[in-house]
Symmetry: C2
Amino acid sequence: MTRKPEPKPYHHGDLYETLVTAGTELLKEDGLEHFTLRECARRAGVSHAAPKNHFASVEDLLCEIAARGFDQFVTELDAEADSDPAQSADARLIAMGRAYVAFARANPAVYLLMFRHAQAFNKSAHLQAASHAAWVQLETGVAAVIGPERNDVLSRAAHVWALVHGIASLIIDRRLPGPIDFEQVIAQSLASLPAAIRGVGRS
Amino acid sequence: MTRKPEPKPYHHGDLYETLVTAGTELLKEDGLEHFTLRECARRAGVSHAAPKNHFASVEDLLCEIAARGFDQFVTELDAEADSDPAQSADARLIAMGRAYVAFARANPAVYLLMFRHAQAFNKSAHLQAASHAAWVQLETGVAAVIGPERNDVLSRAAHVWALVHGIASLIIDRRLPGPIDFEQVIAQSLASLPAAIRGVGRS
DNA sequence: TTCCGATGTTGACGGTGTAAACTTACCAAA
DNA sequence: TTTGGTAAGTTTACACCGTCAACATCGGAA
């Protein structure tokens, strides 16, 4: 017989990280509505109450998953914005918008957790810092387009966020009618964005 | 003693409508995450399994609530669009956008049910018809602005929807940073919309 | 009048999150 | 080296939930 000298040690060793990993996978596989703390524990090979020692509640675990999602999100958007150092501020903003929607489509469950459900549990310092960084990133991109001296940077940034968030949400939730070409919607909408937030065409 | 000649009749009489009403109220009070079929039954003064005779599952009840939400939604948007018969197509679209966001802010829980959660259960004929009517309404408004002969009415309609849905979602979910003036965001974003979907400013 | 089907009730099952009590293992101080 | 304290996991229990099956009740049609 093959020797099995590991009769399941009583202590796991790194349950915290294992739970975050298992939770992220569960989230991506089954979606937020089927996310279960007991299933995370099962995947980590641990009793259903073991997570209590590391996460006071299921929301605390989701909180950490969302925070790491924001970290990755900000990194990816930065990379895309800096991909061509010679591009204009307009092109940078559009590139970030494309990366935004791409992230959402690539990680729908995590995206929804970050931008939709993660409103109830804004306690974690990690989550607050990471989501704040994302907002600063957006604000900076918008200020570069319309000029940092403008007094409506905040509301114009909200405009940009609303558009990309709306596109991402409608695509992820499969709300758009069948024949619609997602790429066309994304390209057209983002292309109109710099002029729109600059306020040209005011009659 | 006061006479109580009604010892709780065995049959309710109109449990279907009562459940829809109680469910709508519960949804508005406690939000979708705390929506419970058993609580609906409790509010209707009926046993926890009674709803089974009218709604096969909790989603069937939510489905009907969402469908009625769409009915009200379409009615309100139509009323707003037709409020001033002399206004231009641009003004009509902007008015509908304002009415869209206003509906979402006035009925956040129902709005979220309609445009977010009601994707899993698209079986009810009522729901499908009502949500389709909302889409036709949008498509018509967009066609009037950019011209019905354009071959990108669909994607431009998606653009409009994405923007208003994004604004509504961010406001409802309280994602926008504190100092932001919602009214300014709504006004600025909607004002830019007709030109944006017409495609002016193409370089 | 009788009977049958629609509607409500009761009780049960498996699932969930969470709390309390108990067990195990490790580490540091005496 | 022994010992004690504490962090980490387990077990058990509770109150919810949705759903199902079996049973009770009532009204209307034959």
